[in-house]
């Protein structure tokens, strides 16, 4: 099982049509990614084939869709073409991967790349469940304090010193969410380690990510 997961969502077809419309008389290849996007079914074979067919039905010049092993990790464009010669024939790549994959393919291909997905968070996969938004990539991980759960990502307000006033009976003020602080508290209470929460935690240093 993959240990990481970039969470993506398919863009509305109208938005994709507007993007490809800016490249008239272009031969387009839809490219899927065999890692995260395939796993959460936003950029697997099924989605690649279906999008290519949809665009073809709108009269666009489509090549057969292709899958790459990892859109975000490649030795070279030449190596990718060796595996997927059709990529060389495309004028434009419509990429069903996370933002990192789209950027990487854009850099190494020298071709216009269009994102078919929106990247929303970093998450994980637990059996058939997708865990969304479990890390905000703050550059100073301290989940050990919080029972292994990250309040910077698990709380919409990224509260690191305790819950905000909107938390009530375990519910978050943002509809449909549970307050992560209640879970953190319960686990630490069970472990007899509530004192981990006692100190005032300083604000995140955003310059550490530069």
């Amino acid at each position: 099982m993959d240990e990481h997961m970039i969470i993506t969502r398919l863009k509305p077809i109208e938005e994709i049509l507007t993007m490809v419309g800016k490249f008239p008389a272009s031969t387009i290849c839809v490219v899927g990614c065999s890692i995260c996007a395939r796993k959460i079914q936003t950029g697997g074979e099924t989605q690649v084939t279906s999008l290519a067919a949809q665009l073809s039905s709108h009269g666009l010049d489509m090549l057969d869709g292709k899958m790459v092993k990892h859109a975000c990790s490649a030795k070279s464009w030449d190596e990718l073409i060796e595996e997927n010669p059709a990529l060389a024939q495309a004028d434009t790549l419509l990429v069903l991967s996370c933002g990192a994959g789209v950027s990487l393919l854009g850099r190494i291909s020298g071709k216009p790349v269009l994102p078919g997905l929106n990247t929303t968070s970093i998450g994980g996969a637990l059996a058939n469940d997708t865990l969304e938004g479990v890390c905000v990539m703050c550059g100073e991980c301290d989940v050990a304090i919080y029972a292994g759960l990250c309040p910077k990502s698990g709380c919409p307000k990224s509260q690191i010193n305790g819950p905000c006033g909107g938390s009530s009976d375990g519910d978050c003020e943002v509809e449909g969410r549970k307050c992560i602080w209640v879970t953190i508290y319960e686990i630490l209470e069970c472990r007899g380690m509530l004192e981990l929460l006692d100190d005032i935690k300083p604000p995140v240093c955003h310059d550490r990510r530069l």
Binding site: P156, N161, S168, P203
Partner: protein
């Protein structure tokens, strides 16, 4: 006597809340606040309350200060990063604002600008620490200020929120961060409030209890459903339903709540729905005018 002096004096404190306009004209709100002249120790001014866009509270606080009110400016962490928070704290001091109520702020999706970037660069504890630091003459990065602020900082708490232990975790940090008072979410159930006041008695921080006089049974049910931590007792809702004059009944219920919590709080904060037309009357019933 200013609000901070009143806190130190042990006097029973009365504050009242107003909100800046959704436009550029301050005349109506200044006239509304004028009704509070002589009745309150300070006027609170909200900061994009419930994430609904309004004029900056800096301006209204300044205008109220010019007419002789001491003001408590609400400051949320939702809309400003640490640079902007510091700028506004310096501005507040320069504009004659002496008190700040530090809070997280409601999430943007609860208001009328739901697509806003939620900032939350600092939390309310860290904002209180920042105010303390600026009061001692330094900025967030320990750089010296040309002249320090002198702001009395308070914060908020919700007596009805559960689990209480989690509320207390945050509250203890706020007190360590030198909060000088706490203002609570609206109190409808005196027993719940008194239990909370008892739980934090050892901390020794003055509690100013939020009061919203009910205006209708329907409004009461709405608040029960929509506002986290608000729990209006069914008996009170029934009283509102059967009352010939619901507004007067709401004032009576509020006065009874105030009488029941008076031994355990240091003051009350009145935040009526639809203006301060009855605030004087409420304070008269309570003997606080």
């Amino acid at each position: 006597m200013g609000f901070a002096d009143a806190l130190d004096s042990g006097k029973f404190i009365v504050t009242a809340e107003v909100s800046p306009p959704r436009g550029t004209d301050l005349l109506d709100i200044l006239s509304e606040a004028g009704q509070l002249q002589g009745l309150v120790d300070a006027v609170n001014v909200t900061d994009n309350q419930r994430a609904m866009m309004r004029m900056s509270p800096l301006v209204l606080c300044h205008k109220l200060a010019e007419t002789g009110f001491d003001t408590i400016m609400h400051m949320t962490c939702r809309d400003r990063n640490r640079l902007a928070l510091q700028s506004d704290l310096l501005a507040a001091h320069a504009l004659g604002i002496h008190n700040i109520l530090a809070m997280s702020g409601d999430y943007p999706t609860m208001g009328d600008q739901p697509s806003s970037k939620p900032v939350f660069d600092l939390d309310s504890v860290q904002l209180l620490q920042l105010i303390e630091k600026m009061n001692s003459g330094f900025d967030f990065q320990d750089g010296p200020l040309d002249s320090p602020t002198s702001l009395c900082a308070g914060t908020v708490a919700n007596p009805g929120a559960r689990p209480l232990a989690l509320q207390l975790l945050k509250l203890n940090k706020k007190v360590s961060a030198k909060a000088r008072f706490i203002q609570t979410q609206a109190v409808f159930d005196a027993a719940v409030f008194n239990e909370f006041a008892d739980a934090i008695k050892s901390i020794g921080i003055p509690i100013i209890a939020g009061i919203i006089p009910l205006r209708s049974a329907r409004g009461a049910r709405f608040m029960n459903d929509k506002i986290p931590g608000v729990n209006i007792p069914e008996d009170d809702i029934k009283r509102m339903e059967t009352a010939a004059d619901p507004v007067s009944e709401g004032l009576e219920i509020a006065a009874e709540t105030i009488a029941n919590i008076r031994p355990t709080c240091r003051g009350i904060h009145i935040m009526p729905i639809g203006g301060h037309g009855n605030t004087r009357r409420l304070l008269e019933i309570c003997g606080l005018d």
